[in-house]
Amino acid sequence: MNKKHQQVMLKRNEAIAKDIYIMDLAVQSAQQSVDMYMPGQFLNMYVEEKHTILPRPFSISAINKDSNEISLLYGVVGKGTTWLSKQENGKMLTILSPIGNGFSVEPHDSVALVGGELGVAPLRFLLDRYKELYPHTKVYVYLGFKDAPYDLVSFEKADELFVAVENADTENYFHGHVIGVLESHYKDIDMYYGCGSKGMLHALQTYVQHQEKPLELSLDPRMACGIGTCMGCVVSIKDEFDTIVYKKACADGPVFNGRDVYFE
């Protein structure tokens, strides 16, 4: 589907945890139908904060076909997201959407979705899509957080949800790193998906390599133009000759075959 530069209406902008927000945007049906969006894709948000230059990229966290809406899960980390968090319902925002490729969704027996912090955002969409297309596929979700989990309600459809918190020891969640939980709660999984910090993705890649199973990773380096022009967001990927080359995360990704991602 071609990306469209368009105005969307803000329908919801709510903090669900400290500095973590869910935003719902209504796409005009005459402009675009969100039916064709794929989990893994992202959008550019052109914030109006004075003196900012670049669009802010956000993974698409959910779509609603009935209302033709997109949901985003974002953190307040700088000028652009601070501005965004203050916008009120009814505000028209400018986006470019959808951008990039999506995760492969196939009728496996079982899949594992592994996310860390805001990396959980596109995995919610992936879970929804699996439940919609392949209700018989068992979807196991593993989420990791540093201090406190958030947005767990979006993963209620998971066949099993494992939540790991690194810095807090509570009865409700595993204490430690999400990859540790993956290792200690072995399941026979056909396909793995990951989104989160470089460290988490690297550990996931190593783990999955031992399992000899397929893996897709969503990479999120710093971006500038978001459309494949500036060469700012390159990531190291092994090509068909096993040579490490630079690929653009925005245009060639953001989803890549996990085996091909090279972590320095």
């Binding site: 230059i53 670049l54 500038a224 494949g228 022009t229 500036c230 060469m231 990531v235 630079y246």
Partner: protein
């Protein structure tokens, strides 16, 4: 009145190239045109200056390559490009199909490399060459050539020998005296001067306590550099008789007018393409409206008026 064509008040003649308007794209911000062709026809632009092209594929710098700054951004891309042969085989046909007027930004590490790229671009549809002797992000070539008059003369005259197309020389602002450099380029045979390339800047991440860019320093572009660029266009207009392609932080038609009044015949939009992919289109229509509102028959009558 029905059936009456609106006079195109933006028609521009630059280096004997008839351009539909004086709005072009700054090299490095527009790739080879494919991405933006999804938003508007490339033929709507006066010209497309494509990303720099080198003799062979250049890989570019290690990430992190970009950082936003106040009113601008830093880049240390490092001129990653697939090389001139790939450009001619894959990108130029696309641009021809799109009926774009193409300026190619020429890169090299040595005088011979600049000459080699120039030679390969002969007998193609490329309308003009823009000599990149001002990129701060490559260890050799680029800025290394553009900071002293002797090396400017060497590279410009070597390229001029091989080029049938007009030669635009792109200057860096990171010099002591831009007028001197411009004069050296003119003496050596340049047909036009384009300026400015990026300023050199740095951003430090106070969490990691290190520069954000892997290359530590990078080129600063965007609205923050515009006053420096306007000043330099003004100075170069007085120093040489060559036509000028002005750029540096242009995001509105008012910005474009500043450059034209300072002495630019043609302008380029760069970083603002990222802020709003339609920036060039908006500038074109607003410039046309400005000329209509002010009874200006052609925009070229405003070139250099700030010097009067």
């Amino acid at each position: 009145m029905e059936g009456m064509c609106t006079l195109n008040r933006l028609k521009t003649n630059f280096l004997d190239i008839e351009m539909i308007n004086p709005v072009t794209t700054a090299s490095g911000t527009f790739g080879y045109g494919r991405e933006f062709s999804e938003f508007f026809p490339l033929s709507s632009l006066g010209a497309v200056t494509v990303k720099g092209v080198s003799p062979v594929e250049w890989v570019g710098n290690k990430p992190i390559r970009i950082a936003e700054t106040y009113g601008g951004m830093l880049n240390a891309i490092g001129l990653q490009n697939p090389g001139v042969d790939y450009f001619i085989a894959h990108d130029l046909p696309f641009l021809e199909q799109e009926k774009a007027t193409v300026f190619v930004n020429v890169c090299g590490n040595t005088v011979d490399e600049y000459a080699e790229v120039t030679e390969k671009l002969q007998n193609t549809s490329v309308a003009a060459l823009e000599l990149n002797i001002s990129c701060p992000n490559v260890a050799q070539g680029g800025l290394a050539f553009g900071t002293c008059t002797k090396s400017v003369e060497n590279v410009v005259s070597a390229v001029k020998k091989k080029a049938k197309q007009p030669l635009i020389v792109k200057l860096s602002p990171n010099v002591t005296d831009i007028k001197e450099i411009a004069k050296a380029a003119e003496t050596a045979g340049a047909d036009a001067i384009s300026l400015i390339n990026t300023l050199v800047g740095m951003k430090i991440d106070i969490q990691t306590r290190k520069p954000v860019l892997y290359n530590k320093m990078g080129g600063l572009s965007g609205p923050a550099i515009m006053p420096v660029a306007v000043r330099m266009v003004y100075q170069v207009y007085e120093a040489v008789s060559l036509p000028i392609l002005g750029m540096g932080g242009i995001s509105t038609h008012e910005d474009a007018l500043e450059f034209i009044m300072a002495g630019a015949t043609v302008i380029a939009v760069g970083t603002s393409n990222f802020t709003n992919p339609y920036t060039t289109q908006e500038i074109i229509s607003h410039l046309q409206a400005y000329c209509e509102d002010n009874s200006i028959e052609n925009i070229s009558s405003l070139i250099g008026v700030a010097h009067l």
